[in-house]
């Protein structure tokens, strides 16, 4: 599946690829051997791709993470896992197409796999709200995770969402509560949980299935507290500043690793996962399997303690002097007394 959707900064690559196609046609039509020239251009394409992808700006990373031909959750499940038995519904309200789940086998591990799912066309995107899950999606995820825990199956979650669905029905059915309960309960599930951010890690909607013992992120995925567009709208009153916002938010895989918020950055093939989806799946499968191999050996009490400690240490602050009081009025309100 060669990528046909061209990101702005990929144009030079696309132009060379076009030239390559023309050369092939010319060689066929005229029956002239241009294999030397073809090899030269192919080498140039590889060179250019390597260069462009090694110098991506944070905003370009976001664009790669959102590439419409990037492999999605179902693609990874299909490529990395076998014997997938999909399970539906939250047993409360409905079945959310934006949250996929079921039993599957990866390497030697029988697991529960759960992930947010984007659509490939208008019809599927209407069904799954462009990968934005509803409350019933998060509750379905929790139901399946508890099922896995009951039968001692490790859990693998795949995150690729712009965020939880911002709609009237989400609020009416309490999306915030659904996410919060997942956060709390994921700290109590006594089986290994491996989390992989494979594309977009959109804020609370991503974190809602993002608590685990090993947090992986693909090289060109991002994970952010707010979308670059949303941040730009707040900071510069203009969504067009998304490129600057992407830079200040420190949302790339490398940034997250630096702040100790993810355990491992999983490399993508040259030119991003969309350039070679099968290779991307192989690399991710290897990382997930490695993590599972380690984690299944850990007794569950230790697992839960380590999971707690892992998130417990997240955050950066200053331990000030014990009774330092900030400058300024003690309290602006009258009840503080005078």
């Amino acid at each position: 599946m060669p990528s046909t959707y061209v990101l702005p900064f990929e144009k030079p690559i696309a132009e060379l690829e076009q030239k390559l196609r023309e050369l092939h046609r010319f060689s066929e039509e005229q029956d002239i051997d241009v294999s030397g020239e073809i090899r030269r251009i192919e080498e140039k394409i590889r060179e250019l791709r390597r260069k462009i992808y090694s110098e991506l700006t944070p905003w370009q990373q976001v664009q790669v993470a959102r590439h419409p031909q990037r492999p999605y959750t179902r693609d990874y499940i299909g490529a990395m896992m076998r014997e997938f038995v999909e399970l539906h519904g939250d047993r409360r309200f409905g079945d959310d197409a934006a949250m996929v789940g079921g039993f599957a086998t990866i390497g030697s591990h029988r697991v529960m796999v759960i992930g947010t799912q984007k659509g490939r066309d208008t019809k599927s995107n209407v069904r799954c709200h462009f990968g934005c899950a509803l409350p019933e999606g998060y509750r379905k995820a929790l139901r399946l995770m508890r099922l896995a825990a009951r039968f001692g199956r490790p859990i693998v979650t795949l995150i690729d969402t712009p965020g939880a669905y911002p709609g009237i029905e989400s609020e009416e059915r309490h999306i915030a509560e659904a996410i919060a309960v997942n956060l709390r309960e994921m700290f109590t599930l006594p089986v290994p949980i491996v989390v992989a951010v494979i594309g977009e890690g959109g804020s609370g909607g991503a974190l809602g299935i993002g608590v685990g013992d090993r947090i992986l992120i693909l090289e060109h995925a991002y994970y952010s507290v707010i979308s670059p567009e949303g941040c730009a709208a707040i900071l510069w009153k203009d969504r067009a500043y998304a490129d600057r916002a992407a830079a200040v938010l420190k949302l790339t895989a490398a940034d997250l690793r630096r702040f100790g918020l993810v355990d491992e950055v999983v490399p993508e093939p040259e030119g991003g996962a969309h350039a070679a989806p099968a290779m991307a799946a192989t690399l991710l499968a290897a990382a997930i399997t490695r993590a599972l191999d380690d984690l299944v050996r850990v007794p569950s009490a230790e697992l839960l303690d380590a999971r707690y400690r892992k998130f417990r240490q997240m955050g950066i602050w200053i331990e000030g002097a014990a009774d330092a009081v900030p400058p300024g009025p003690r309290d602006a309100d009258p009840a503080a007394g005078a």
């Binding site: 609020e171 309490h174 996410i179 919060a180 507290v225 949303g230 918020l261 003690r330 009840a335 007394g337």
Partner: protein, 290 residues
């Protein structure tokens, strides 16, 4: 105690008139009437005409809910850093300095031990006036320590929430505070201890999607804006007209999220009554009156 200065005594909710700067009037967002600040302060910051609940300062809130002199503050020494070296139109550092100056508080939450009626609780009070009550590393850490200490000392937790969500200026470090605080809630809950969340205007986004909705009992003040996504975002995304009263406390009571909507004047009474039922060593049932 440092936060409230040396002379503070929470002997009464009512405030002497001479403590209040004169000549301050506010327009009530509820009814549009002009209300004298004095009158407002004496009425627990509730509009005498329409019962609109204005924001309360932390000191007022603590005075409202706890027994006189029972509050002792915990972890007041934590200060926000600027780990992302965040610079937009203004820098995070400047924002912090400005908010510390205008509120007199180091960050958006005050936590401590206090007595509510006969109950020794762990109390957190969030402050929307400080950077929109947003949760960065300090708020997340203080809330987590509050809940952990409550677990260790077997205290119920009461958190008065007011927040616009995770603090953008600390990026993903802020988002992870949602997981961290929820983890602490899990352990407190596993220890068989109760947690009451009090949602005030407004409580939204990342705080709403973590500890604010994890209460065993969830109470809100009348008219409070409560939700996950902002109304503007919802309107833009869905192109739908929002139903009347959408994302108000009353709307959420109707839709089954809240246990009760409680007027501020009754809040302490309701908390005490709930704690009588929930607290680990609940007060002995008094003999019925003859």
């Amino acid at each position: 105690m440092a936060l409230f200065g040396k002379k503070t005594r929470y002997t009464s909710v009512t405030v002497r008139k001479r403590d209040i700067p004169d000549g301050l009037w506010v327009k009530c967002p509820g009814c549009g009437e002009i209300v004298y600040r004095n009158a407002l302060a004496e009425a627990l910051q509730v509009c005498p005409k329409c019962q609109y609940h204005f924001p309360m300062s932390r000191a007022e809130r603590i005075a409202l809910l706890t027994e006189p002199a029972s509050w002792s503050e915990w972890d007041a020494h934590l200060r926000s850093a600027d780990p992302l070296e965040f610079t937009g139109a203004t820098s995070y550092r400047e924002k912090l300095e400005e908010n510390i100056r205008t509120t007199g508080h180091p960050d958006a939450v005050s936590c401590g031990g206090a007595r509510i009626g006969p109950h020794e609780v762990a109390l957190g009070v969030m402050d929307f006036a400080f950077l929109g009550g947003s949760m960065g590393s300090v708020v997340g850490e203080k809330i987590t320590r509050l809940i952990e200490r409550a677990t260790a000392e077997r205290r119920p937790v009461v958190i008065v929430c007011a927040s616009g969500g995770a603090r953008m200026y600390e990026g993903m470090l802020s988002l992870m505070q949602m997981a961290k605080t929820s983890a602490a809630c899990a352990r407190h809950r596993d220890a068989g201890l109760p947690y009451i969340a009090v949602l005030t205007n407004p409580t939204t986004a990342g705080v709403m999607a973590s500890f604010a909705t994890l209460g065993d009992v969830i109470i809100a003040e009348p008219g409070a804006l409560i939700g996950f996504a902002g109304p503007r975002v919802i309107r833009e995304t869905t192109q739908q007209e929002l139903p009347p009263g959408f994302q108000t406390a009353e709307f959420l009571l109707d839709h089954g999220l809240l246990d009760a909507v409680v007027h501020r004047r009754d809040l302490k009474t309701v908390l005490i009554r709930l704690l009588d039922y929930l607290a680990p060593a609940g007060a002995a049932v008094p003999a019925p009156a003859p």
